[in-house]
Symmetry: D2
Subunit: 338 residues, 4 copies
């Protein structure tokens, strides 16, 4: 950590800073410049808080030099993590498209959806049994019954399932129903108690970036899970909130190369939630694969006009099949397979 003293700082104030560094078990390194005196704290600076120094008299600013995340950092773990989901590899050379409806509605809908996912050549299926909805008056998902309908449909095609866990009290139920990948939604990215609990199980977790979460906060949320012992974490960028109102969210494509550099965890993209409209999905999906994503989460509904939620962002089975064809070409262009 670097502590920048203010121009008017007294010698006693500098000494207080030095004492505090030493009290934390680190050593100081003082550098007197022409306009400012700097103090470097040498040792494991994660033990120090910028705030503790910034409120000390004579201190102008304190800055961490190393990143706050450890287990999930690429530094010290140069090769990428490949998550194994019942034999399907996510994070390797093969790109995975996880498709399925926004919410589980009926057995028939899920059977048709599973057939469509399989026919399109996707190897994993998504669907929501518990739905985070802005309004208390909106459909909240079928709950446990939804998990059952989902598994019944997916097993027919041997598709591992991905579904969202919202309430920590439901974790055991998810394990009993053998959910293959637990999704943590964007709104729960900093629900720290939930992160701690999924950190204790050995199921893969897809962690979605919050609507206004920084890359650093996303990685710290992953660090919560990893710190509990569960290293099977997949990060998901799903659009961020900005000033723009012409579309729901802005897909942050830059997050892909940056995350691949900062962490060894796989990165998937959700183009359906980002744009909010089915007609935007192909362009965004292609961009994500071209930029280096390890996978995609795509909404597909056997009959979008009848969907119970997020109706206008779901592809039809036919549109999904077509998209898979064009994604295959892009994957090849960047040296991967789909």
């Amino acid at each position: 950590m670097i502590i920048v003293m203010s121009p008017a700082a007294q010698e006693a104030e500098l000494n207080a800073v030095i004492e505090r560094i030493r009290a934390a078990g680190l050593t100081e390194h003082v550098s007197r410049g022409t306009e400012r005196t700097l103090v470097g704290a040498i040792g494991d600076e994660r033990a120090l808080s910028e705030q503790v120094f910034e409120q000390m008299p004579g201190v102008e600013r304190a800055m961490h030099i190393v990143k706050p995340y450890k287990i999930v950092a690429r530094e010290g773990h140069p090769s990428g993590t490949v998550v194994d989901i019942r034999g399907i590899k996510l994070g390797g050379n093969q790109i995975q498209v996880i498709a399925g409806p926004c919410s589980v509605e009926t057995q028939e809908q899920m059977d048709l959806a599973a057939a469509g996912v399989h026919a399109a050549g996707c190897r994993l299926m998504r669907g929501g049994a518990f739905k985070p909805r802005t309004s208390p008056y909106a459909f909240q998902g079928l709950g446990v019954q939804g998990l059952e309908l989902f598994q019944r449909a997916a097993r027919e095609y041997k598709l591992p399932i991905v579904t969202e866990l919202m309430d920590v009290r439901m974790l055991d139920t998810f394990l009993e129903h053998d959910v293959d990948v637990i999704q943590i939604g964007a709104r729960n990215m900093q629900n720290f108690d939930l992160l701690k609990e999924v950190g204790r199980v050995n199921k893969p977790v897809i962690l979605k970036r919050g609507l206004s979460a920084t890359i650093s906060e996303l990685l710290m949320a992953a660090e919560y899970i990893a710190a509990g012992g569960n290293h099977n974490i997949i990060l998901c960028e799903r659009g961020i909130r900005t000033f723009e109102t012409a579309y729901r969210n802005v897909l942050d494509i830059t997050a892909i190369p940056v995350l691949k550099r900062e962490t060894h965890l796989p990165v998937v993209i959700d183009p359906s939630h980002a744009g909010g409209k089915a007609w935007m999905v192909p362009a965004l999906a292609r961009a994500a694969v071209a930029a280096g994503a390890d996978g995609l989460l795509i909404e597909m509904h056997p009959n979008p006009c009848e969907a119970w939620c997020d109706a206008d962002q779901a592809l039809t089975p036919k549109e999904l099949t077509d998209l898979m064809g064009s994604l295959r070409l892009i994957a090849q262009a960047v040296g991967r397979e789909l």
Copy 2:
């Protein structure tokens, strides 16, 4: 709801829209303009989703006309709600300043803090036993023991206590320890299961606005609590996330008059978390009272330099007392008392 048909829409597409409106139990009203045909849906439009219409062929856009919140809306509930906290009124003419440390640390610290809060003339006390921290390696709060230390200190001065609930499984413990006001933190504003649970108890709730939550989302989160039966809700603006990096967050002062117009619930402001620096707190607190806030949440620590978290945003007891003096003058200038 208004459905805007695209210029090229066919008559059959228009008819499909009309049928769907009727299927939901509403009636249509068609208006043919020079560039667009519009369809109004007459009846309780909360039963309709914009998305369902926006994915229908021939539809350009669908727009709600009425607001999605009901119980918390000022419309139909013109007089403001006054929340009674063990005899202290929040939302009436008297402005309440809720002061105390970021986190509960020791009995001595809490005793000194309670004495300072009382001496400054504040009637409610805040403090965190469970702390939402970005890093899994940071101090996470004293937990249940913290609640005990807090209550022991606050009771000495008959100060009702405000403390944050993060985990739904801890709600019973909060009730057992007789927490007076349950705080829902900014990161949990859309933790819908938590909102539903605090909606079922009869304790006042302070609901903090998420860092990038819109006014409408904040009110819908309050609606979740209200829909459960608990109408003792206090809204808190605590700074929003923007592009600016010179301070932690931007205190959204405009939210005060807008919320006072949109909802009958009381509105408090947290100037400490917004700015992130103790020296900014007085200016922001004064602005909040001048703009019409019903109360303030202010961090105060008996010894900020020794605080275990958010050290640089806490006022000293002396600074709090001084601030109360200037706030009293502002309150009078806007026809209220402190």
Copy 3:
């Protein structure tokens, strides 16, 4: 336009709204719902301002139904515009990569740059003679002399040149030096006097989106140019400003499909300024082509370590050549050529 009356609106207030609609030469269409009365204004609503109605007593809200842009709208102009730049087509099936250094520095640098641009297979060259710099103490560009060095280098390879115009008083000089494409920078996107002036000449214009400009504002800025008679406009997305601090700006990839739907003008992407780091450029450039961009603006410097500005975002000639190879594959995957 739709005018939403408030629930408590009086009949006289409704009549005042109707009178104002008629005064503007439009006709009204009143629709009485269960919670609100709506008034539709039928005719060319671009003559009406939402604000005029929103301040009338009894009015809750006014909403435009049609988009404010006309000449640049895809509606009424279904085929895409192809801009011809000395025989090079931008906006057709062939994707154009416009490469070159951030700023013109020396004749030798520009000669090497032009050779590199040509060798990589690019057909257009960029470079800045007038530089918008945040600091008055930073290098402001070589000015007119820079235009001369640039033209001399580019002509050797018959490369049309693209360069930024900042000051309206310099337009004649640009014409005298036969600048092929005039670039309007992000900071000047709403410098309306500058837009009006370039609207009067018949040179192609690249209009960069402002850092926090909405899609609608970008199209209205283009409409300023088009309204003057110059329809050779190329839109450029170059990253938007958000809360994220891990990279300079967020490349808004969603803008590509949205702009292609809303306007007939070609869309190019500047991945160099968006990310701010050379190592991010290949991933972002590939994403842009995959998402449907008509062209790219890429910074390349013969010797990035010696560049006078934006040193860390420039590719080397070798890196540009490599990137062109991978972009060619992506272009083919989406049915285009490079």
Copy 4:
């Protein structure tokens, strides 16, 4: 400046950094930590660019330690600047309210407006003759004729006038018409050629913060003006662009204490443009004065319903007079006068 070397940096890479520091006339100070080696550059670091170092091999990051602004910085200029506008002091103990219509429309409108401004006790008048409008089809202002109408009305009450300059070619006309304060609008905050020109005259300048400009960028824009010799600069915060759509912009009240700390220049607030609705103006204006603003820019129109632009944000003369009364009490509460 601090240069952080990456963990894998070679000795030769470190030496290259040191050489570059020396080449710029500064000296290095190397500090070897447990995880990173840091290099401090001692001397006037404004001569160094972070980017030049960040693209050197082995460098992870480079950070400026001192602020980039000099003339406008509070550091080295502890007492606040008081700008004298024909005898009216802005920046001293007295708070100035600058009121008037959005745009100059007719002589009668301006006469009534001037009378209202004077009657309310304001000492300066605002009004726009040249209007920056998002749409080329909207009223663009009366131009030079507007300046004449404005001066004629204002002189009657000896009110100095404030009006916006958009086009650098109009500066001489502004001087001929003896405009008292030149306003640079938010959209032109980084129109560097315009800043340079107003830096050469000796008229006070109100510089409005861009919609997404950081505090640092605002101060650097002021530095452009100051570097030309004109130190009579007044900064204006007028709302920033965020994700919130319930109001036009978010008034950034935190900017007031931060600017007062960072610069010696006076700070005024424009609550009319920030909120965009007349009913929000009183709350925002009171908050601004309470937070320490030196003045306000308030829209007032003798007949808001007939205003030609921004109709719904203008106060009536009566509302302005009432607001002045309450602002006077707030000013007293913070030890100032109105």
